[in-house]
């Protein structure tokens, strides 16, 4: 084995990042790409709110407005929050389970580049004749050729490529968490964030094939006259809705479960207490994941499924309130009797609790089908899912970023700016979305580019737009904070928060091999157990030795580039380009299959030279 041992390929700067298979660098790539898409989606949101600031104004116009809402939804769900979740999973999960890497480092890089190129493809639609405009749900028949432009082709191809990336990313984390845990790290000793990532990955495994099937059918309808969804030719429009939501509902939990995991870590660390009811938290997470698959039709109560289907799906949806309630009370009781500190990470976590509770409450209200006939497709729904996705997920992500930033980058984020960031974002958020509950009940449908003057909708919309400015300021403050942190010369300590789990046992940022010696895990909150036993760090489970590392590779980039090119071929019906793109991808796959690449070793003496110890 050691016959293959060679030195690490010397790569730096951009080339390093284009070829890296290191999960910590891939995390940074995910964060940068997801962050840029987040800003794009945020800009779209701001334009939407400006158009709706006053009744009957002409700012962006009807067609552009529909493009904006479509791209805002699609970008935020697929290209912003998902990748930022993947960023945190990549950065933290291997560290939390005491692993040196993920199970398939090459696949990990491939997953990122597929997501990246899918997202870029989708966004180039803005410059190539118009973005998709059929809503992020792309309901047929509106999303068929007869009723919408080429933008929807970008949606179909972009999401297929990005979705592949997400799917293989999810599989990678399932395998990593099952196979790569350090000795002693049983399932019931895994930190909650790892648990949440594990269940989220399972949901990805089962949910993404559904959207892929739907997108392929839609692609056949649009490109080859497939008529799956065209009622004039015997197609069925409701099938698309089922396929979309069989994916789309679990997707909501794919997004929110990691946020739950982050909140559990942060609340526990900053209360200096172990998580209250850990086993019921694990059980609740799994149950939410399971129920998430059973309730997709609650997005379709008004489609005409009938009283029996609606009632059953409604009652099943209500049940999700029970495990979610367990989580909320467990967080409260984790803080109970603790010593709570309030750095920005915990402010976001604490702010999450009431906000997410409101989102959950309106969720239960929406689960009552007869009442949902009034809420559905109104601003009440817009308010609800923003309370869950922004008030839950984005708060969770901010909390996680403030919490793990020192671990990822070796620099602390500034606390003063952080607090301003929290308060502007928090107040702006509630100002934006709380009035929307009432707007919806007062008769405002969602996805309207304007509303008429004499309908008493002016005030709520005006307040909502003002709130959007608050959220914008909050986001800008975060960006400023990132720059300030990057410029500061102060290095973050290994364990700045008095942490409890394994990632705090190694330096910030971690060396490329994570742990010099794989740690021995002796209980839940592995590092805390050692601290309480009076140890300085983790007890090693193995002697110091050579560490095997995977080689970097440019193939994931090229492979994804091939599909990116093929995507344009499909969109413009140029099948020569399709063949070139697909062949490039296959050539890369072939190269990967036949080329023997055993990786390299970092030698024992090099480890000691760097002076890093576990």
């Amino acid at each position: 084995m050691s016959a293959h041992a060679s030195h690490a390929p010397n790569r730096s700067g951009l080339w390093d990042y284009l070829t890296t298979v290191d999960h910590k660098k891939i995390a940074i790539l995910y964060l940068i790409a997801g962050g840029i898409f987040f800003l794009a989606g945020g800009l779209e949101a701001l334009l939407i709110r400006l158009q709706l600031m006053y009744p009957e104004i002409e700012f962006v116009g009807a067609k552009t407005f529909n493009e904006l809402i479509t791209m805002h939804g699609t970008t935020m769900i697929f290209l912003a929050v998902m990748p930022i979740i993947f960023a945190l999973m990549n950065a933290i999960v291997p560290l939390q389970i005491g692993a040196r890497d993920v199970a398939f480092p090459f696949v990990n890089a491939l997953g990122f580049w597929l997501f990246f190129f899918g997202g870029v493809l989708l966004n180039t639609s803005w410059f190539l004749g118009g973005a998709p405009d059929a809503g992020w749900t792309s309901y047929t028949t509106l999303a068929l050729n007869q009723y919408s432009g080429r933008g929807v082709d970008f949606y179909v191809l972009g999401l297929q490529i990005a979705g592949l990336g997400t799917l293989i990313g999810g599989i990678n984390f399932l395998v990593t968490i099952i196979n790569m845990r350090a000795p002693g790290m049983t399932f019931m000793r895994m930190p909650m964030f790892t648990w949440a990532s594990f269940i989220t990955s399972g949901l990805i495994l089962f949910a993404f094939p559904a959207i892929t099937v739907g997108l392929v059918l839609l692609m056949f309808d649009r490109l080859f006259g497939g008529n799956f969804f065209n009622p004039d030719a015997g197609g069925n429009v409701v099938i698309w809705e089922h396929l979309f939501w069989i994916f789309g509902h679990p997707e909501v939990y794919i997004l929110i479960l990691p946020a739950f995991g982050i909140i559990s870590e942060v609340v526990s660390t900053f209360s200096r207490k172990r998580l209250f009811g850990y086993s019921s938290m694990v059980f609740a997470t799994a149950l939410i994941g399971f129920l998430g698959f059973m309730v997709w039709a609650h997005h379709m109560f008004t489609t005409g499924l009938g009283a029996i289907a609606n009632t059953l799906f409604g009652l099943a949806t209500m049940l999700i309130a029970v495990p979610t309630g367990i989580k909320i009370f467990n967080w409260l009781l984790t803080m109970w009797g603790g010593q709570i500190r309030f750095p920005t990470a915990n402010l976001f976590a604490v702010g999450f609790i009431p906000t997410f509770t409101i989102g959950g409450m309106t969720g239960v209200m929406l689960a009552v089908p007869p009442a949902d006939y009034q809420y559905h497709d109104s601003y009440f729904v817009v308010a609800h899912f923003h309370y869950v996705i922004v008030g839950g997920l984005v708060f969770g992500l901010f909390s996680g970023l403030y919490y793990w930033w020192p671990k990822m980058f070796g620099k602390m984020l500034n606390e003063t700016i952080g607090k301003w960031n929290f308060w502007t974002f928090f107040i702006g958020f509630h100002l934006t979305f709380f009035p929307q509950h009432f707007l919806g009940l007062m008769g405002m449908p969602r996805r309207v580019f304007t509303y008429l003057k004499d309908q008493n909708l002016d005030m709520g919309n005006f307040i909502s737009t003002i709130g959007a400015f608050g959220m914008t300021i909050g986001t800008i403050l975060f960006l400023i904070n990132v720059v300030v942190a990057a410029k500061s010369s102060k290095r973050a300590p290994a364990d700045p928060w008095d942490g409890r789990s394994l990632e705090w046992a190694i330096p910030s940022p971690p060396p490329e091999y994570n742990f010099v010696q794989t740690p021995l895990v002796r209980g839940l909150d592995a590092l805390w157990v050692e601290k309480m036993a009076g140890n300085k760090g983790m007890t090693p489970a193995e002697p110091i030795g050579d560490i095997h590392m995977p080689s970097p590779s440019f193939l994931p980039f090229l492979m994804s580039l091939g599909l990116f090119v093929a995507g344009y071929g499909f969109i413009y019906h140029n099948y020569v380009v399709v063949v070139i793109g697909v062949l490039a991808t296959f050539a890369c796959m072939f190269t990967r299959s036949v080329k023997d690449d055993p990786g390299y070793h970092i030698h024992e003496d090099e480890l000691e030279e760097k002076g890093v110890k576990a």
Partner: protein, 342 residues
């Protein structure tokens, strides 16, 4: 302490209910001001579920506030807090209580759900066939033999059984003050019943994204006393059985000529014309132009000059009419009435 808390809970509950009950929205539009039994049943469910949820929220917020104040880290605090694994009694408690609350909500959910899905035959309800188009509404009364567009006319206090579909893309039919909402799926039929308890005008909307002018796909519901409704039906039937009336003034006659040449291909008037666009038999009686603009000659003229400007993406072409032609057309169209009111 306990008594004070209870008062506070009741107070905030009533404050919020008062806000919901009195504050919000325009009578003709708001789901918070139900004007018929369907909307009333839905509103009752909203009140029940929000009351329960607000109760839960108050409990969460009480514990939350207490914890944040009582257990924040104080300067000079020493030692490590007790590491609590969990508490089975508490965990069972907050599993069982939500279950009970959900059962309280589930019972009326089931009963109302089935009540709203009842189908009424023509002996018990006025049958109305709704077809949604980009971006207008077509209403047919198959048993009464009349058809209209944009303005839905209903008798007060009677059940209306709707049968809904769409001709192009998916839309959703929503009259918040009377009850909400059902999708109109192309190629399929959905059913819903509504009833209005007060005469007057209500606002209806399309709730499903259906293209550029989705936001402008409004319609009006004119609810009249039974006798007025019967007269309206009789008048409509009378007019729709005949050829379009010959215009009364020379200007209107000129308008009719233009109309017969350029518009009749798509729009029906009385017993003649196409079905591509809205039926214009009772155009002059309508509450709004294009469903959104006040019914004035100026607005009609504006529409005729450039329909895309008012409703982007609609299917009516720009006929490039000059001002005199527009004036003549407006004059003629304002004679298209079935009632004596206007």
């Amino acid at each position: 302490m306990k008594g004070w808390q209870q008062y506070w809970r009741q107070f905030s509950l009533f404050a919020l209910l008062a806000l919901v009950l009195t504050g919000c929205g325009k009578d003709e539009l708001s789901a918070l001001k139900p004007s018929g039994p369907v909307a009333a049943m839905q509103f009752d469910l909203m009140k029940l579920s929000s009351a329960i949820m607000i109760g839960v929220f108050i409990v969460v917020m009480t514990i939350f506030t207490y914890v944040l104040i009582r257990y924040r880290k104080r300067p000079g605090q020493q030692g490590i807090p007790k590491q609590v694994e969990g508490n089975h009694a508490l965990e069972i408690l907050w599993t069982v209580i939500p279950f009970l609350l959900l059962i309280i909500m589930a019972i009326p959910t089931v009963t109302t759900g089935f009540a709203l899905h009842k189908e009424y035959p023509k002996e018990e309800a006025v049958q109305v066939k709704v077809t949604a188009h980009q971006f207008w509404w077509e209403f047919e009364y198959p048993d009464l033999g009349v058809a209209t567009a944009q303005d839905l006319v209903l008798p007060v206090g009677k059940k209306i059984q709707f049968v809904l579909s769409a001709s192009d893309v998916k839309h959703a039919f929503w009259i918040p003050a009377l009850g909400g909402k059902i999708d109109t799926n192309p190629g399929q039929e959905n059913k819903m019943w509504l009833q209005a308890d007060k005469a007057g005008i209500y606002y209806g909307k399309c709730a499903e994204l259906c293209g550029a002018s989705h936001a402008l796909m409004d319609f009006k519901v004119e609810v009249m006393e039974q006798a007025d409704f019967d007269t309206w039906v009789a008048n409509m039937k009378g007019v729709q059985a005949k050829e379009p009336v010959t215009a009364t003034s020379p200007l209107a006659a000129e308008g009719q000529q233009i109309f017969d040449k350029s518009c009749l291909g798509c729009h029906a008037v009385a017993g003649k014309g196409g079905k591509m666009g809205p039926n214009l038999t009772n155009f002059a009686d309508r509450e709004r132009v294009a469903g959104i603009k006040a019914h004035t000659p100026e607005n009609i003229a504006e529409w005729l000059k450039d329909p895309q400007k008012i409703k982007p993406g609609n299917k009516m072409p720009n006929l490039n009419l000059d001002d005199t032609q527009v004036k003549a057309l407006v004059e003629y169209m304002e004679t298209l009435s079935v009632s004596e009111k206007k």
